[in-house]
Amino acid sequence: MAETATPGVAPRIDPDKESKSKSGLEPGYLVICWNDPVNFMDYVTHVFQMVFGWQRKKAEFHMLQVHELGKSVLTRESMEKAEHYVHQLQKYSLHASMERDE
């Protein structure tokens, strides 16, 4: 896939609309997948592709993190979206949880 071209002119940023500090943002929730040695690597990769719509390369990267490090943070979302993703992952019997991103 071609890379996205960088615009030649930087967009104007209204100082009043600049990003707030992390603490001022809506609390985020991390969706985490934990390692269960019983799951096949191909299966975990497949599930990540299906649940998040990722390309195989990205799905494999996170699968390997789970396998080698014991867990992988898959995404940071609002509470509702994080719950949705955890539910989807658990439907596939993957060990997933959501944790508040402090």
Partner: protein
């Protein structure tokens, strides 16, 4: 079990004489993972967290019931299983394969939990007479999962 052909949304598998009874035996074990096994959060459950946990448990229980109904319908569907010589032909859509993968992994993970969630290489795990049925179910579920994944992997990544 092996893939014979795929056309549009139809995957046709050959099941050997032993494959069909083994697949039925594995699928008939569903569900195996204990209900309410999965915590929504591993740390510090809050009041909101408890409510959300119970909603998640309900959603998963509902999903299980639906999977059980779908599973019984599949196993009784004569159009999905056709006798051919010594074996069978099983016809599945991509959606069928997707939920069969979920069902098979429930059997695989659930059997592994019953075995005490061994952390070591599963090839080194030696079952005894009591745990043998669960070890076999785990291995057979894995076998069918692998065949299904092989069939759809090329399809999905092209």
């Amino acid at each position: 079990m092996r893939l014979l052909r795929k056309a549009k949304d139809r995957f046709v598998f050959h099941l050997g004489p032993r494959d069909r009874p083994m697949l039925r035996a594995v699928l008939n074990r569903y569900p195996v993972v204990p209900s309410a096994h999965q915590p929504l959060s591993r740390y510090a459950p809050s009041r909101d967290g408890e409510i959300n946990q119970s909603l998640l448990d309900e959603a998963l229980a509902e999903q299980r019931q639906q999977n059980e109904r779908q599973l019984h319908a599949l196993l009784r569907n004569s159009r999905r299983f056709r006798k051919t010589g010594a074996g069978w032909q099983m016809t599945l859509s991509i959606a069928d394969i997707e939920w069969l993968l979920q069902v098979l992994n429930d059997v695989r993970v659930g059997s592994w939990i019953i075995l005490g969630s061994p952390e070591q290489d599963l090839w080194d795990f030696v079952p005894n007479d009591e745990t043998m049925p669960h070890a076999l179910a785990m291995e057979m579920a894995g076998y069918f999962q692998q065949r299904l994944l092989e069939a759809i992997t090329g399809e999905r990544d092209t």
